[in-house]
């Protein structure tokens, strides 16, 4: 059975579809940059969802055009919230990419599993504990990818 192509189906499907694709992307991505991108997508979906929560049939935008009798307006509150949410989203995104830049400089990779492994090794080294041997490192040491010389920012160690 194909459901009728009602506007709410389209719009909700879009909002939730974007959210879901975004979340799936975050889960499935191996590349950290794609994870950030996926988050952006998911946020877009949720923003749409918020606006939908205030949408009203046959209403106008919430701006007064004339004094006196007002036509029905859509709900302004969700719109204000979405404004806030969009800006918050971009702030987080900017922060995320700047951290990515640093990780790329230090670890020469953005593969999440490799980053996680390097992080574990780093923490263990700082703490002075022997690393737990995992299935990912079955026999002895698995060499981690060396940091290629050309990628190293010579001034990257200033902080």
């Amino acid at each position: 059975m194909i459901p009728a192509l009602t506007p709410e189906l389209i719009l909700y499907a879009t909002a939730i579809g974007l959210t879901t694709i975004g979340l799936a992307g975050v889960v499935l991505s191996v590349h950290l940059f794609r994870m950030v991108l996926s988050l952006v997508i998911a946020e877009a979906g949720v923003n749409l969802m918020l606006v939908l929560a205030g949408y009203r049939w046959d209403a106008v935008a919430p701006i007064l055009t004339s004094l006196g009798e007002q036509p029905a307006m859509v709900d302004p509150v969700p719109q204000a919230m979405v404004l806030t949410a969009i800006v918050i989203g971009v702030g987080v995104q900017a922060l995320a990419v700047s951290i990515l830049i640093r990780i790329r400089q230090r670890y020469a990779t953005l593969d999440r599993w490799e980053v996680a492994e390097r992080m574990d090794a780093d923490i263990a080294a700082t703490a002075g504990t022997p690393r737990d041997v995992s299935q990912e490192a079955p026999l002895g040491e698995r060499p981690l990818p060396p940091i290629p010389a050309k990628r190293v920012d010579p001034s990257g160690s200033e902080s």
């Binding site: 979340l23 799936a24 975050v26 889960v27 994870m35 996680a116 574990d120 737990d132 990912e136």
Partner: protein, 625 residues
Amino acid sequence: MTLTLLDELLLFSGATLLVALFIGRGLAAGWMVTILYGGQLLTLLKMAALGYGGGIIASSLSFTVMGQNLSWRFDALSWFFALITLGSALLSSWFACGAWERSYAKQGGNIWLFHLAMALNVLSMLILLASGDLLSLFIGWELVSWAGFLLMALAGGVATQAAMRYITYAMAGGMAIFGGLALVYSSSGSLQLDAVLIAVESMSTTKLWLLVILFGGGFGVKMGLLPFHLWQAPAYAETPGPGSAFLGAISSRMGLFAILLVLVKLFGIVNIDSLKIPFTLIDARDLLAWIAVFTIIFPTFTAMKQNDARHLLAWHGIGQGGYMLLGVVVADAMGGAGGLLHVFNHATYQAALFMAVTAVIHRTGTADLNKLGGLVVRMPLSFMVLLIGIIGLAGLPPMNGFVSKWLVYRSLLNEGMPLLFLAAVIGTLGTILSVYKLIHNIFLGQLRVEHEQVKEAPWSMMAPMLILAAIIFITGLFPGIPLAWVASVQEVVGLPATDYTLGGVESVSGSLDMIWVIGVLFAGFGIGAVIFYSAGRSKRVHQLDNYAGGHFLSADVRYQYSDNFYAGLMHLVGGWYRGSFLWLEKSVISLIDFLSLVMQGLYRRANAEFYLLSTALFVMAWVVI
């Protein structure tokens, strides 16, 4: 506000703690603390009316926290246990003063911490004994647990490991009690004893079962009941000398105190008797009795295997706890009296034995039964004390252990429990064998070369040992003295009171008069001595005046029987205790270890976002469907 006698006692004990804390580093601090213990004991004796059926003495200390009333008071039960606590604390502390302290400090021990830990233990035990409701009972319980941990962990190294094991067991027990407390609270709405007494009557069988298991298990951990006994021997044995005398004498009896208070007094033996185990003929009470019997047998035979005198004694301490519980669970006048009297008797001879062994360690530097022997010629008084102690431990006349064990046996026979009786006798057999190993390997046989110059223990140590030996004999001769206290304890916890006389018990179901028994015994000794000396044909030979295989042995070759004692017997029974309890303990630990590994993997190697997504999916699906 006037101070009651109990207030005085607690304040006195607190003052002792403060003295140990602040001036415990000074010279003669040990003597000061010992005198203060003596003062506490005197205060306790001022309450002696409690031991003879006097009324309850309440403390004026009581407060309300989060709607819970906390109060403290003393009755005959508390008084009886407090007497043993303070007595053993006084004598152990006395024992520690002087020579032992000096050598302990010389070996790098911290004597300040030792006295502090002792004082803390005594105070917390008094608080526990004074508890007037279940909540204060639990508070005291935990205090005792942690104070004991401090004393056990003092020596460092192996001792700390043993203490760690102890505290893990104790925490598990404590949490079982905590859970039981919560269950009780949910049905009574209060933790006051009166309220609980009423609530017990209307509890469902399931709940009562659960409570018996939780409380029995929780208190049993401290008593060292099977299968929770593994921690006790190493923990007590590795405690610094006088500390192990103190702990061995009283610490694990706190478990019995709590069992008496909660299981016997509050729940009532009758209620426990009504808890049938489905599909079998036995009930919860029988279960407890059998646990007690196995607690007698297994640790006793394990003790036989030990090659360290302290460990041997500590294992016996576990086993003797079984007699006490057995007597209490039988719950007739004689059994109860036997169990309770055994608490007192055990404290006296256990303390004496640990002290004697510590004296030997003090002089020779070792407690290894394979490296000692023949010390009787060098330390005759210590030998005497040890001898008296093991006679008490083995439950032979004329010492006090005989009385309490006789009472327990008699009650088992009276109540028609021959299997339990048989098992208890097997336990006693093991006791006799292993205490023989103890005295033989230390004091009998040939003196080792390296111990030629050993002297008798110093008088600071000898005095408390002799006092204990005297008590062991006197209470063996006049068991009526402690039996008077025991009778009032029985009354308080709701057991039938025994009819005692100065020399023992006098009732229709059985009588014992130790004055007569000992009289006959000594008369026999006297006759033997008369025969021996009147014959007059004895000849004194030197210990080394020996033959072996027809050859003279030169003086530098010593003939030691002590190494690998009971090898043949061990071979016979060894298969029976291959350490199944140890295996149980290890498997629990490795299970936790494994689960821990899994959980760490969950956090460290996993895809967090995936968890999030799947959780979201599951909860949403749950909502929709």
